[in-house]
Each structure stands twice: as structure tokens, then as C-alpha cells.
Subunit: 87 residues, 5 copies
């Protein structure tokens, strides 16, 4: 799972039905020093995360299977809010 910071959200009216009602957050991956790595993506929130939170992201079929529809369009999901980084 990537560590990331929630930096915003997107609004999309015209979208796949499976995305209706999902919170689509813009996330910036980070390392344990909270430095930015890689590139921003959009992840479906499953844990009530908000802008500024540090979160755990899962990807691929692990993200897709968190939802119950037959053809979920999600390939990135927020699955935890990070309280502390222990190093």
C-alpha cells in the first residue's frame, strides 16, 4: 500500500455508474518522511478521509473488490487513515 496525503477531490458528473456516490479524492503519495513521491492520482474513499489526512492506498484488484458491483471502475482506494509513522 502506498502512503499518501489527501490534497483535494474531483467533481465528475458524466461518469461510470459504479462511481456514482463515491467520494473521489486527489491523493499525493509520500514516503515515511512525508516527502512527495511519484505522482497524484484519484482514489475512492472507504474510511471517511478528508483533505489533509495521511492515508493508506490500495490498488488494482484489491481496490476493486472492496466494492460489490459486477464491474467496479475503481483501481485505487483509500483504506486507512495513518495516525503515526513509527521509524
Amino acid at each position: 500500500m502506498l502512503m499518501a496525503k489527501v490534497v483535494g477531490s474531483v467533481v465528475s458528473t458524466q461518469k461510470d455508474l459504479s462511481l456514482v456516490g463515491k467520494k473521489l479524492m486527489i491523493i499525493q503519495p509520500i514516503n515515511a518522511e512525508k516527502q512527495e513521491i511519484r505522482f497524484q492520482q484519484v482514489a475512492a474513499d472507504t474510511v471517511g478521509a478528508g483533505v489533509g489526512d495521511y492515508v493508506l492506498l490500495t490498488s488494482g484488484s484489491a481496490a476493486r473488490h472492496l466494492f460489490k458491483g459486477p464491474s467496479e471502475a475503481v483501481d485505487y482506494a483509500i483504506v486507512g487513515i495513518i495516525d503515526t509513522f513509527d521509524k
Copy 2:
């Protein structure tokens, strides 16, 4: 999901049967500042996106399962048109 801008399309006559009838758009991934990231790919459109639109992309088995054939060749699909980036 990656954020991206639709920058064109490709024409392919000789292709896998599962691609026949699909709109194959060239997309340039971007961050929330609309700066280019990563590299261009081709994605199958599912939401009526056109050149110049900002879109959401899904990848891998999430993209494949959006279509109903037994062996869909798609590994990238456009699943939403982004109206606004809230940061």
C-alpha cells in the same frame, strides 16, 4: 485512477476483435495542476469523452471488466469526465 487530458485518438484496422467499435483515445496523464506526468497511453472511452476533455482513467482488470466479452483486450479505460479539481 489517473487524471488525464484527452489529446487525440488512434485508428487501427487490424486489431483484436474485442477492440472493434471502441473509441481509442490518446491520453496524457496530468496532476491536479494540469501539469503532464508519466507518459501517453491509449484508453477505451466509455463516457463520451472528446479531445481536450479532462478525464478519469482506470487500469488493469477494473478496465477490462467494464466490457462484457470473454477476452477483452482493454487495460485502460476512460470512466469519467472531470468537471472541477477542488484543491
Copy 3:
């Protein structure tokens, strides 16, 4: 799907049974300007592509499911020949 140019092929005698009889082409991913991106890989051809052709590549389970064996080793496949890039 990645855009790519076919730049060669590999010969392999000792290989997984699922690869026997498949054309294994060396491909160089490109962007819509035909500039090289990323890195070369080997993809199984499904559309009769030859060296010099511009092609579409699919990856992961989408590539694997194009073939019918129970344990196909393919994770990259050529699924279309690009006639034109419209930008």
C-alpha cells in the same frame, strides 16, 4: 494500452510450454509523437505485426486472457496495428 514500435524479436528454445508457437516481439513504447518512452519489453503478437510496425499493447490479465491455456505466461500482447495517430 501502450503505443509502441516493433523493433525486433527474441528466439527462446527453453521456455514455458504456453509460449511455444507464439511470436515474441521486442517492442519500444512510444508517445503519439513517436518518441521513445519507458523501456523495451517482449510482447506476444496476436495480429500479425512485423518489425517497424506501430502497435497497441495490452498488459496484465487482459493480455493473459487473450490466450486459452490454463496457465498462460504472457503478460504483454500486441493487439492492434496503428494506422494513424490523430492529434
Copy 4:
């Protein structure tokens, strides 16, 4: 599988149910010279690894299937402790 060094852990109270009870370790991928490569991620431990250990990581559906729940959020798992690198 990536080679990596375990460099810490994260604490997360608010998280997907499938992550409850799993040890979530921060890992830094390395090459065989133990030089850092790529970027840090969080992996679920399955072999009793601790901070400072060199480990093997698996990703994607291979990591997810190591656990038995219907919708496991894990996409990275520690699956071995490396005793020696033979080069």
C-alpha cells in the same frame, strides 16, 4: 518480488476491516547491493519480519490471495526474510 528493508511501521485506527490485526510495515525497496531503489510502501507482514530485516515482497493479487477474506485490502505483503544475497 521486490527485495526490501523493513524501516518502520504505521499505526492506523480508522481502517478497512480486513486490515485489523495485520502488522503494517514500512518497507524501502533495495537492490542486491542493498542500495535504495524506487520508493517506500506499506506491506502486510506474513512471516514475523521486524525493523532492520531484509525481506521479499509480493504485490497485487498474489499478496491479496495470501489472506482469506472476501475483500482483502492488501496489495503488498512481506513473504520471506532474506538470509543471504548470493551474487
Copy 5:
């Protein structure tokens, strides 16, 4: 599939049961000019490859399905030895 050179192996005593008895080789991905690309990983050998061999690698679920256990930890496998690169 990535092209790669086998550069070593790892020894791991404490590991997932599915890895017991598998040869775990350190591989360095290369391009068709045999120049190093990307980063080293560990792949399970399925074709009798040894150090110094040039090989084909498959990844993800294609690698996992080469083995028959219900929860195989492998996400990278050597599936061919390259005899010649034709460019």
C-alpha cells in the same frame, strides 16, 4: 515480458510455504542492447535458468498461475531463456 539477466539468487529460510522448493533468482532487467533498465527483483525460476543467462520474465497473475497452489506468493517468474535477440 521483461528481458533480464540473472545476476544471483537469494536464500530465505523463513518464508511463505508456497515459496519452499522454488529457486529464487535475482534478475536485472535489460533492453535488447543488454543495457540495464529499471531495477533488480527476485523471480521464481521455472525453466532451469542459471546466473549469467538472459531470460524472459512474466509478472503479476500470469506468474502466479504458473504454480498450482491456492495462494502462491510469486508475482515474478522466469519463463524462458533467450538464445538470440534479433534486431
